[in-house]
């Protein structure tokens, strides 16, 4: 098996070389084929690890100077590898039919395989150096892919800069946290850290955990380090945004769980309350911005922040249960978290791919310029609908199952003596519920404005269905949304194994499986398959009844326009107007800016010639936190520039002062 692991790495590298060196005609197919082979290898290894339960390792002391290259893929890591590989396969197939966005350049062709490979190997790393090596390489390659289209759109470099800065900030925090642990463990291998972490001093453990949460949180898009995410994910090309949003952000969760549960074996209550608070904040903030955004991909990106927030909420709940001694429940919550990671990967991959198809077909991702696409792009539209239903956590699609399990774990965690838990759980449920409602709102907005109704622009009216590779790549994920929603038992055992693996326990299984999902020992089970069957039967029955009683075929008629003859797209609700009530409701949080511009007719100021209203809900953190910080930094930099004024005397004076200081202090 370790041979296959190495083969995966080599294949990924080969894809990279092929992308860089092969002639333009075969560049894309060859590099994609090699990368697909690497993904297949990773899938095989990952599935083997999950099925057999035995970790696969590979060590080589000749690689990575003075520290060695160490891989060890255990069940927990394997889950993430399988998810990444699965998403990558679909995204790569999709990429075969996708063009534009600078993805065909030599650089991008070489970097894409590298990015996929790092996604596959981050969870395999088993020491600090190897981990950071892949982690940083992942950050770098994804950054390059985000920047791929910089020549054509000025927003791309800006997005890249945000991403680079936030990811580097996160990487620095991770580096310090992990090095701190490695130092106190006396070895940089994860196994050694895990073995000695319980004997470390509390401040070391806490400092490391907080740093790691900050660092990995920034990758997972947790508030307030999320600002890069809506920019980078929306500016990157289709396959890349899918890979980033469905696979890369997961690794932030991987890191937090790996360190918090795997290496540190849990910690005090406040750690997990912190994680829950970050999660809740991210979920709410992401959901709100997602609900009020009019840019299709930005909306999806904020939804990623929302969903990763929910996962963090579950991770925090799991840690909280573990520290209060309720290990079975801790496992349930962690399973809910990991299940949501898996399902989020599936539906967000599906959504980003189909949204990119829409973008390619219409040339825009502004919802207010779309409309009527379901009839023009039936497959892509349906795929988007399926993914969106899953995103809204509606029943019989996959998002529902994981949210349900999280609700269950919170419900059963509630009767607790610990006041922290008692307060955290209802608040958590409230957050979950509100984000659920907002996600439904978001979905209706995206699908209703983007796919239904009348096309709002010429480009939308001319849109045609995209090619088979693109519909295939996204369609597979949509099918998975349905399949996993109806039959979660297909992945549940693997997820439970992974959760058990990282918790390092082997208690009695707290979950009911088979066609049902639920907690064993209580009457709280869900049989999504049966629910789906009943729902389908009900829909069928009602449809039959309707067909039986109605007198004739459906008559196509003009819609009611308050008596106006002609109905145009200008009369339709737009995404902005759709989100307006919600914006008003959450005015204090979103702080939208309104700009009304009225120009009068020259003859009389009582007649209005034109009126434009401009509203925007930009990111509050960006405006209130980052913009002032940016300004302060720039001001400091400008001020600092005047200290070295070019005078050799001043420079020498620095030296004289230093010399006198040396003499006074040392002699």
């Amino acid at each position: 098996m370790s041979g296959l692991l190495v083969a995966t790495l080599v294949l990924g590298l080969a894809g990279c070389v092929a992308g860089a060196a092969s002639p333009i005609g075969i560049r894309t197919p060859l590099s994609v084929a090699l990368t697909l082979a690497a993904c297949a290898g990773a899938l095989a290894v990952g599935v083997a690890v999950l099925v057999r339960g035995r970790a696969v390792s590979f060590h080589d002391q000749h690689l990575l100077p003075l520290s060695g290259f160490n891989l060890r893929l255990d069940r927990f890591g394997a889950l993430f590898v399988v998810v990444s590989a699965g998403v990558a396969v679909c995204a790569l197939v999709y990429r075969l039919g996708y063009d534009g966005h600078g993805l065909s350049s030599r650089t991008a062709s070489a970097v894409l395989p590298a990015f996929v490979t790092t996604l596959l190997f981050v969870p395999s790393a088993s020491d600090v150096t190897t981990f950071l090596f892949f982690w940083e390489l992942m950050a770098l390659t994804s950054l390059l892919l985000v920047l791929a289209d910089h020549r054509h759109r000025a927003e791309v470099p800006v997005a890249g800069q945000w991403y680079a800065v936030m990811t580097q900030f996160g990487a620095a925090a991770i580096l310090v946290g992990l090095v701190l642990l490695a130092t106190h463990a006396g070895s940089q291998s994860f196994a050694a850290i895990a073995a000695s972490s319980l004997h470390m001093r509390p401040w070391v453990r806490s400092a490391a955990f907080v740093l790691v949460v900050i660092g990995f949180g920034s990758k997972a898009g947790a508030v307030p380090l999320h600002v890069w995410l809506p920019r980078a994910h929306s500016e990157s090309s289709g396959p890349v945004s899918a890979l980033m949003s469905a696979a890369m952000v997961n690794l932030g969760i991987y890191g937090i769980v790996r360190v918090g549960d795997g290496l540190l074996h849990g910690g005090p209550v406040w750690w997990w309350l912190m994680v829950m608070a970050i999660g809740a904040l991210s979920a709410l903030f992401g959901a709100l911005h997602s609900a009020t955004s009019r840019d299709l991909k930005r909306l999806l990106a904020y939804s990623t922040t929302d969903n990763m927030g929910l996962v963090l909420l579950a991770v925090g709940a799991s840690g909280l249960f573990a520290v209060t001694g309720r290990h079975a429940l801790a496992l349930v919550a962690l399973v809910a978290a990991l299940l949501h990671v898996v399902f989020h990967a599936v539906f967000k991959g599906c959504l980003f791919l189909s949204a990119s198809s829409i973008q390619q077909a219409t040339g825009t991702r502004d919802l207010d310029s779309l409309g009527g696409l379901l009839r023009r792009m039936p497959v892509t539209g349906s795929v988007f609908l399926v993914g969106g239903l899953a995103m809204a956590a509606l029943p019989v699609l996959c998002g529902f199952v994981s949210e349900w399990l999280l609700l269950q774990s919170m419900l059963h965690g509630l009767p607790s003596k610990d006041p922290a838990v008692a307060v955290a759980m209802p608040v958590g449920v409230g957050v979950l519920a509100l984000t659920g409602g907002l996600a439904a709102f978001t979905f209706v907005k995206a699908a209703g404005i983007g796919l239904l109704g009348l096309p709002r622009t010429e480009a939308a009216a001319r849109a045609r269905e995209v090619g088979p590779a693109m519909t295939g790549g996204s369609g597979v994920l949509a099918a998975l949304c349905v399949l996993l929603g109806v039959a979660p038992f297909l992945v549940l055992p693997a997820v439970i194994d992974a959760a058990n693996g990282v918790l390092g326990r082997r208690g009695p299984d707290p979950l009911v499986r088979g066609w049902q999902v639920g907690l064993s020992g209580v009457h709280g089970v869900l049989a999504p398959g049966i629910l789906a069957a009943v729902l389908c039967a009900a829909v069928g029955t009602v449809a039959l009844v309707r067909a039986a009683v109605e007198p004739g075929p459906v008559r196509v008629a003009e819609a009611w326009g308050c008596g106006r003859e002609l109905q145009t797209a200008r009369m339709e609700y737009t995404a902005t107007s759709f989100g307006e009530p919600l914006t008003r409701v959450f005015e204090d949080v979103l702080a939208p800016s309104h700009d009304v511009d009225i120009s009068h007719v020259a003859e009389s100021r009582y007649y209005v010639e034109a009126a434009t209203v401009h509203t925007s809900t930009d990111d509050g953190f960006e405006r209130r936190l980052y913009a002032p910080a940016q300004r302060a930094l720039r001001r400091f930099g400008t001020a600092a520039r005047s200290v070295p004024n070019g005078s050799v005397h001043r420079y020498l004076a620095f030296g004289l002062v230093a010399l006198v200081l040396v003499l006074v202090l040392v002699a």
Binding site: L411, P426, L531, M571, Y573, F578
Partner: protein
């Protein structure tokens, strides 16, 4: 549930519940309308008028706006179907309907949400300003109602250690005093507010209005006609019926059949009808006395409900 007979009996209960909701929902609406008219000093239509309306509408031809897609036709089906599923799995007549173990309160909530989402999509599919407006408003209210709804469910579930409906009802049957506890009363209050919002009743929405400024639900369904409109009206009244019935069995569980048998069922049916009728009359009386809230005051109401629900959970923990 092992013998074929009891499975058949459970299935029969489910079918009975579905049929009851299909018939009872419109009747409840009719009852409420009549009560309202009487209180306002009018005679009003007969109680069965909604059923007659449905029959009339079902025979009319359907129309579809020219730009609409297949979503438009699917939405009414989904609305009715999700409510039917809820009616089938909820323990309205007996504590153990068929499939009762396959869903719980959370699932019920999300199923109803699916129906609302479908309807909103149908509204947007028409491509008119009204559809979008109704969908936007309905979902805004739905989104802010969701936390209160789920947390009040949590308050109910905590003492039973389960969100499974039969478990909750059995629990309250076993501990009658449980009903009078503060957490239950708080949860009750929150639940009522949420039901009013979910069903689009006053003061959140006025089902009778067709004024642009105030329409919520009606704006969404403006383009539906014929059998589709019948389905939507049916679905809406079924929702009201099933939620009121659920409310009745959750908070006043007595009379529900705990074991199979026609005599138990009959008692259960009678008591349920009585409870729902009383609640319906009460609700109608309440509606007469209030005016519709401004749209942007509704979230405040929902926030209040959420606070009540959180208090319910906390008091459940403190008093437990």
């Amino acid at each position: 549930m092992t013998s074929t007979w009891s499975v058949a009996a459970d299935a029969a209960i489910s079918v009975l519940q579905m049929a009851g909701v299909v018939l009872g929902g419109p009747l409840l609406v009719g009852l409420m309308r009549t009560v309202r008219c009487r209180l306002e000093g009018r005679v009003g239509p007969p109680v069965r008028q909604p059923l007659l309306d449905l029959r009339k509408l079902a025979r009319r031809q359907r129309t579809r706006p020219e730009h609409a897609s297949w979503i438009f036709g699917l939405a009414p089906l989904l609305l009715v179907a999700t409510t039917l599923v809820v009616a089938a799995v909820a323990p309205l007549l007996a504590t153990g309907p068929a499939l009762g173990w396959s869903a719980d309160l959370f699932a019920v909530v999300y199923l109803l949400l699916l129906g609302s989402v479908a309807l909103a999509l149908g509204g947007l599919d028409t491509g008119t300003a009204f559809g979008g407006m109704g969908a936007s408003r309905a979902l805004t209210i739905g989104a802010v109602a969701e936390p209160a709804l789920l947390v009040s469910i949590l308050a109910l579930s905590v003492p039973a250690h389960s969100s499974n409906l039969p478990a909750i009802i059995s629990g309250s049957l076993a501990h009658p005093l449980w009903l009078a506890t503060p957490e239950r009363l708080l949860a009750l209050a929150a639940f009522v507010i949420v039901i009013v919002a979910e069903c689009g009743r006053l003061p959140v929405d006025n089902p009778g209005t067709h004024l642009e400024l105030t329409m919520i639900h009606e704006a969404m369904v403006l383009e539906y006609s014929g059998s589709d409109l019948a389905l939507i009206k049916l679905g809406e009244s079924m929702r009201l019926g099933v939620l009121v019935a659920l409310f009745a069995v959750l908070f006043v569980p007595w009379g529900i059949a705990t074991s199979p048998g026609p005599e138990h069922l009959a008692v259960s049916l009678v008591s349920l009808v009585a409870k729902v009728a009383v609640l319906g009359v009460g609700l109608a009386a309440f509606e007469v006395g209030v005016a519709k809230l401004r749209l942007f005051r509704v979230p405040e109401l929902m926030a209040g409900a959420f606070v009540l629900a959180v208090l319910a959970v906390l008091s459940a923990l403190v008093l437990a």
